[in-house]
């Protein structure tokens, strides 16, 4: 497919809120899922005949099942607080990428069919009939939302566009209009066990190769074990960690940390994937089915702890939803949180002096940290609110000598999405991804100019893949993006703690 032509947004010296340009992103929509991507997930293969009724029934069903959906459809006062908060709006200027306007695409239909005001005075309250044009708008613009929840931080009622966008995608799936990227991946996961369709022998092979590489480089036999029954720790990580750059440096780092701390760990070939794309499509059933694989793997291998690797939405699902979807995890060691993030593990080991880190090993790197949205706004690390901001920074600072934070309005819970989250990390959405990355690139650019920063550390597989692709559009080198545990991996002094 020839890529559509588009202009990369210019990075200004100070962030500017664009004037709205109606319809400039109307053309952007992802490939539609084929029947073989839809049916394994329990959705019709193509648009059903009575789709209007099916969509409205589903919408009503969701208002009874999700308080968030119901309350958020009713409560918006159109104050405009969110209008300049979405990275996709800032990058594209399309007003339908303003969180409130995105929600309104669905809210207008909800009003028309489910509220008195919309039934009797549709024009007055901006209610519209559910037509094919509206459905197409849903498909376009609810796939221009990375469900990063930045808007929910600023909304006076905590209205979370991610919840609306997930509901919209579930409605779309229910009428047979699914998104290829997400649904193909979930179907592949059910069939083979991970998002990449990497079968067990290939995984074992990859990890053996990794062991050889690490031993060659360090002289130490660090293990990357698979399917070890009776291991203490099951590590579940995004499958990109097994081969993609820079993800794999993170995996190498996890292995070195476990090695030096003397922790007996394993991966599972059955649950060789932490990602749960069920969340992106808002499907409770699919999310549950995907999550249950982890429980089964932990039981089959008889592990005492589960540790999640560097992945943003996987950590959200693990931290916030696993207990609900696949719990209780009462068969695990209660002395550790269930699940635990790899950053929590490494942080704890650093605090206890169990790791020898030499930050000067990273002296070529001048580092900043990208708070991944799902980690920042939907999870926690450690036992205090905000630990998800503190722990990764402490791990980085223990591993490097030069660390700089980006502007305060762009980090922590205010962080900007990489532009590729929420199931949008697909080549058919490249224009959106590049434009959506603009606010993050802007904040990065400031640090590059002021502090010669040359390393953007992240703890999310999607961020890493997205930045690898988008950094060059903004004239940054693609290898500027790296794993946090890649830094740990460089700094750790193997052979000094045996």
């Amino acid at each position: 497919m020839a890529a559509a032509k588009f202009d990369t947004p210019e990075l200004k010296d100070i962030p500017v809120i664009p004037a709205i340009q109606e319809g400039v992103m109307a053309h952007s929509s992802p490939f539609i899922a084929k029947p073989e991507h839809q049916e394994p997930l329990g959705f019709p293969g193509e648009l059903v005949d009575n789709w209007q009724q099916v969509a409205l029934d589903k919408m009503e069903d969701l208002t009874h099942k999700y308080r968030s959906f119901k309350v958020y459809l009713d409560s918006c006062v159109k104050c405009g607080a969110c209008t300049d908060k979405c990275h996709y709006f800032l990058g594209t200027a399309d007003p339908k990428n303003m969180p409130v306007a995105r929600q309104d695409l669905l809210r207008k239909v909800y009003r028309r069919y489910f509220t008195l005001a919309g039934k009797f005075f549709p024009k007055l309250v901006g209610a519209v009939d559910l037509t094919k044009e509206v459905l197409d708008d849903w498909y376009s613009y609810f796939h221009q939302c990375s469900q990063c929840r930045r808007c929910s931080v600023f909304c006076p009622y905590g209205i979370d566009t991610a919840e609306i966008s997930m509901a919209a995608r579930e409605i779309l799936d229910t009428v047979g209009v699914g998104q290829k990227y997400c649904n193909e991946i979930i179907a592949k996961l059910y069939k083979i066990g991970n998002n990449l369709g990497l079968p067990e022998p290939a995984l074992v092979d990859t990890l053996e190769g990794l062991e050889e590489d690490v031993e060659e480089e360090t002289g130490v036999a660090v293990k990357y074990p698979v399917d070890i029954e009776g291991a203490d720790v099951l590590v579940v990580t995004p499958s990109a960690d097994f081969f993609a750059e820079p993800h794999i440096d993170g995996l190498i780092g996890y292995g070195k940390v476990f090695h030096q701390a003397g922790i007996n760990w394993t991966l599972s070939s059955y649950a060789s994937e932490a990602a749960n794309f069920g969340m992106f499509i808002g499907s409770y059933d699919n999310m549950k089915q995907v999550a249950l694989r982890i429980r089964k793997a932990a039981l089959d291998l008889g592990v005492k702890r589960i540790v999640v690797g560097e992945c943003g939405h996987a950590w959200r699902v693990a931290y916030s939803f696993w207990n609900t979807l696949a719990g209780p995890f009462d068969f695990l060691d209660p002395n550790y949180p269930v699940p635990q993030h790899i950053i929590e593990v490494t942080h704890d080991l650093i605090k206890r002096g169990a790791l020898n880190l030499d930050p000067s090993a990273n002296d070529e790197h001048r580092v900043t940290f990208h708070d991944s949205c799902n980690v920042a706004r939907a999870t926690r690390m450690g036992n205090m609110p905000g630990g998800q901001f503190i722990l990764p920074r402490e791990v980085i600072k223990a591993s490097v000598n030069h660390f700089y934070d980006m502007a305060p309005e762009t980090i922590h819970e205010n962080t900007f999405c990489c532009g590729g989250g929420g199931g949008l990390l697909t080549d058919d959405l490249m224009e959106l991804r590049v434009k959506g990355a603009m606010p993050r690139m802007q904040a990065l650019d400031e640090l590059v100019r002021e502090h010669d920063v040359n390393y953007l550390a992240a703890i999310c597989a999607i961020c890493k893949s997205q930045f690898t692709k988008t950094l060059p559009y903004y004239n940054f080198p693609m290898d500027m993006i790296g794993s946090v545990h890649g830094l740990v991996s460089n700094a750790i002094q193997l052979g000094t703690k045996e």
Binding site: S68, S75, T115, D160, Y319, S320, T324, G327, P385
Partner: protein, 240 residues
């Protein structure tokens, strides 16, 4: 039909609509499950922390302050002004006003201007900011007009054309005690009370529901403890 009878009926209808409508909304919000923990973090890890977070949200409009200072200023001025005005109005519904109603009385009188200023500020941005103009529907404008009408007519009665306050008070208390007293026949009062009744009636059917919604927003009212406490909705239990 006398003005008194018409307004009496109007106020009973408005009160029943407001109370029953709000109660029904709150009931549906309360009984709709929140199947997943979706607190927007960093979030409190205790119930007390959540209460404090919600209190900051309701009293100070904390998130709005983070989002946009102008909207916060006008929005907060309007709401806080309205609160003082409403509390001041308690003197029309009690034989002997409580001491604290007397205490805020002087502030309550001028709070009407603050309220009006806030409303004009909020309205102005619906015209001046292209993003807010884009998301505004006719009802958003009408709602502001309605509130401006209420505030302006109230101020007119206080500062321009005085109304028979004793008569108003007798009418109001009479309504509450089903001991009907004549309503003073002042055109401004009729406008004022008429608009208030309209506001009460549309409240449960409009975006004014945000007043109830904020307390039921899962991103704000949930405790951040999903690892410690298992959280399963009833409808999800069937699938266990």
């Amino acid at each position: 039909m006398s003005v008194t009878l018409a307004y009496s009926i109007l106020f009973y209808v408005a009160t029943v609509t407001l109370v029953a409508g709000l109660a029904y909304r709150i009931y549906t919000y309360a009984k709709t499950p929140a199947p997943l923990k979706i607190a927007t973090t960093p979030a409190p890890t205790t119930r007390a922390g959540v209460a404090y977070r919600l209190a900051r949200e309701v009293v100070l409009f904390e998130s709005l302050f983070k989002a946009t200072k102008w909207t916060w200023l006008f929005g907060w001025a309007f709401h806080f002004g309205m609160l003082l005005v409403l509390l001041r109005h308690l003197r029309y519904f009690t034989d002997t006003p409580w001491f604290w109603v007397n205490l805020i009385q002087p502030f309550g009188i001028y709070a009407g201007f603050v309220m009006l200023l806030g409303l004009f500020g909020l309205w102005a941005r619906r015209f001046l900011v292209d993003r807010v103009r884009y998301i505004s529907s006719p009802s958003d404008h009408l709602m502001l007009l309605l509130l401006i009408g209420i505030a302006a007519s109230g101020l007119l009665m206080k500062f321009v054309s005085h109304t028979d306050i004793v008569g108003v008070k007798n009418f109001a208390i009479g309504l509450m005690e089903f001991n009907f007293q004549p309503m003073p026949e002042s055109p401004i009062l009729m406008v004022h009370l008429g608009l208030v009744a309209v506001l009460m009636i549309i409240f449960p059917f409009s975006k004014l529901l945000h007043a109830a919604g904020v307390f039921f927003s899962p991103t704000r009212n949930q405790v951040d403890n999903p690892r410690e406490v298992r959280h399963v909705a009833d409808w999800a239990k069937d699938a266990e």
